[in-house]
C-alpha cells in the first residue's frame, strides 16, 4: 500500500472514532418499594392467678380482701388507623359466683415501660357477665412485655349488704371465676 492511501485510511479512522466519543448518560435509575401498615393489636396478661381469701373475723361486715396489687399486669401492642382507637373490655365468664358476692376490678395507669399513645383506665368497675370497658383510647403504642409493664390489675371482692351468714357460709365456698378480656375498635 502506498503512503498516500495508508495516510488516508488512518485519517478516516480518526474521524470516525471521534463521532463515537460521546458521554454515557445512563447514570441514574429509580426503583419502587411498597410499605404496608395494616391495623393490628394483641394483648396478654402477665403474672400469677389471683387468689382472694376470706377473712373469717369480719363477720357480716363487707369484706375487702388483701390487695392484689402487683399480681397481674395487662400488656398490649396496637397499631391503629388515623383517628381510630382501641379499647379493652372485661367480663366474667364461667364460674360459681353466688349472687351475694361481687368482684371488682381496678385498672391502674400504664407504667410507661413502652412508647406511643397508651390507653387510659376507666376506674373501678363491678365485673358482670356483660363486657365493660376497662381501658379506653388506645392508639398506636406498646406497653412492654411481662410483669411490671403495662397496666396493673387490682381485684377485690365484696359481700352485698343482703348477705345472711346463717344461710350462706362463706367458708364452704370455693369460688372460682374466669375473666374474659377483649380488645375492640372504638371508631
Amino acid at each position: 500500500m502506498n503512503t498516500s492511501i495508508r495516510n488516508l485510511t488512518l485519517l478516516s479512522l480518526i474521524v470516525l472514532t471521534s463521532t463515537i466519543v460521546c458521554a454515557q448518560n445512563n447514570n441514574a435509575v429509580t426503583m419502587p418499594i411498597q410499605l404496608n401498615l395494616p391495623p393490628s393489636a394483641s394483648f396478654s396478661l402477665a403474672g400469677e392467678d389471683v387468689r382472694i381469701s376470706l377473712d373469717p373475723n369480719r363477720g357480716t361486715e363487707q369484706i375487702i380482701t388483701p390487695s392484689t396489687v402487683g399480681k397481674i399486669w395487662l400488656n398490649y401492642s396496637s397499631i391503629v388507623a388515623w383517628n381510630s382507637t382501641n379499647a379493652i373490655c372485661a367480663s366474667l365468664s364461667s364460674g360459681n359466683l353466688p349472687p351475694e358476692v361481687v368482684i371488682k376490678l381496678l385498672v391502674g395507669p400504664d407504667v410507661s415501660a413502652g412508647s406511643g399513645k397508651v390507653g387510659k383506665p376507666m376506674g373501678k368497675i363491678t365485673l358482670t357477665s356483660y363486657p365493660q370497658t376497662i381501658i379506653s383510647g388506645i392508639g398506636s403504642c406498646y406497653t412492654g412485655q411481662g410483669i411490671n409493664k403495662g397496666h396493673p390489675l387490682t381485684f377485690s371482692w365484696e359481700m352485698l349488704p343482703e348477705y345472711e351468714s346463717d344461710i350462706l357460709s362463706l367458708e364452704d365456698l370455693n369460688i372460682q371465676v374466669g375473666v374474659i378480656y377483649t380488645i375492640i375498635s372504638e371508631e
Binding site: 445512563n26 429509580t30 411498597q34 410499605l35 401498615l37 395494616p38 398490649y76
Partner: protein, 188 residues
C-alpha cells in the same frame, strides 16, 4: 597471482559479501485508540418486587423491624485517571409513613461475574430521606458488576418504628408506594 586466480578470488569475496549485505526494510502502522468515559447504573429486583409489612406480633412489644433484600444495583464504569465514583440514594417520590424509619445498606458486589475496582460499602445503613442524596457505595473505579439477576450490589431495606414517635404510626388500608432513586456520579 595470475589473472584467472585473482578474478576467481574477487568473485569469491563478492559472493560472500552478497550473503551478508541484505537490506532491512521496516514498515509502521499508526492508529489512535480512544477509551470512552463510561458511567452506567441499572437495577432489578428478584425474586419479587420490594415490599415490606409492619405488624404487631408479640403483645406488649413494638412492631419488629422488617427487611427486604430483593433489589440489586448493576454498574459499568470506566474512569479517567484520578477520578473515582460513588453511588447515592434518595427518596424520589412518596413519603415514609409517620412514626417509621426506612434504612438502606448495600452489600459488596458479588464476585462471580464482576471485575475491577468495585469500591467500598458505606456502613452503617443510611436513613433514607427526600432532601439529600446519601452515599451508599464509594471509591468505584473502572469495573463492571455483571448483568445476571443476582449480580451486582445487593441492597437491603430495613423498615422499623421510630421509638420516640411511635404514637404517630397510622395504619393504612392500602400500601404506601415509594420510589427510590440511585445515581452514580463523580466522587471527587
Amino acid at each position: 597471482m595470475n589473472k584467472k586466480s585473482s578474478f576467481f578470488l574477487l568473485w569469491l569475496i563478492a559472493a560472500m559479501l552478497n550473503d551478508t549485505l541484505v537490506a532491512q526494510v521496516n514498515t509502521y502502522d499508526q492508529f489512535t485508540i480512544v477509551i470512552n468515559d463510561i458511567c452506567m447504573i441499572k437495577s432489578n429486583t428478584t425474586p419479587s418486587p420490594a415490599s415490606l409489612t409492619l405488624s404487631t406480633s408479640v403483645a406488649g412489644s413494638a412492631v419488629s423491624p422488617v427487611s427486604n433484600s430483593n433489589t440489586y444495583l448493576k454498574v459499568t464504569s470506566i474512569t479517567p485517571i484520578g477520578e473515582t465514583r460513588k453511588v447515592t440514594a434518595i427518596i424520589y417520590n412518596g413519603t415514609v409513613p409517620a412514626g417509621t424509619i426506612l434504612k438502606l445498606i448495600s452489600a459488596a458486589c458479588s464476585g462471580i461475574n464482576s471485575s475491577g475496582d468495585l469500591g467500598t460499602i458505606i456502613s452503617p445503613a443510611i436513613t433514607l430521606n427526600k432532601t439529600a442524596n446519601q452515599t451508599i457505595i464509594e471509591n468505584i473505579g473502572s469495573c463492571y458488576t455483571g448483568t445476571a439477576l443476582t449480580d451486582g450490589y445487593q441492597l437491603t431495606y430495613t423498615w422499623q418504628p421510630d421509638e420516640t414517635n411511635y404514637y404517630l404510626i397510622n395504619a393504612t388500608s392500602g400500601a404506601t408506594s415509594l420510589v427510590i432513586s440511585f445515581t452514580i456520579m463523580s466522587g471527587n
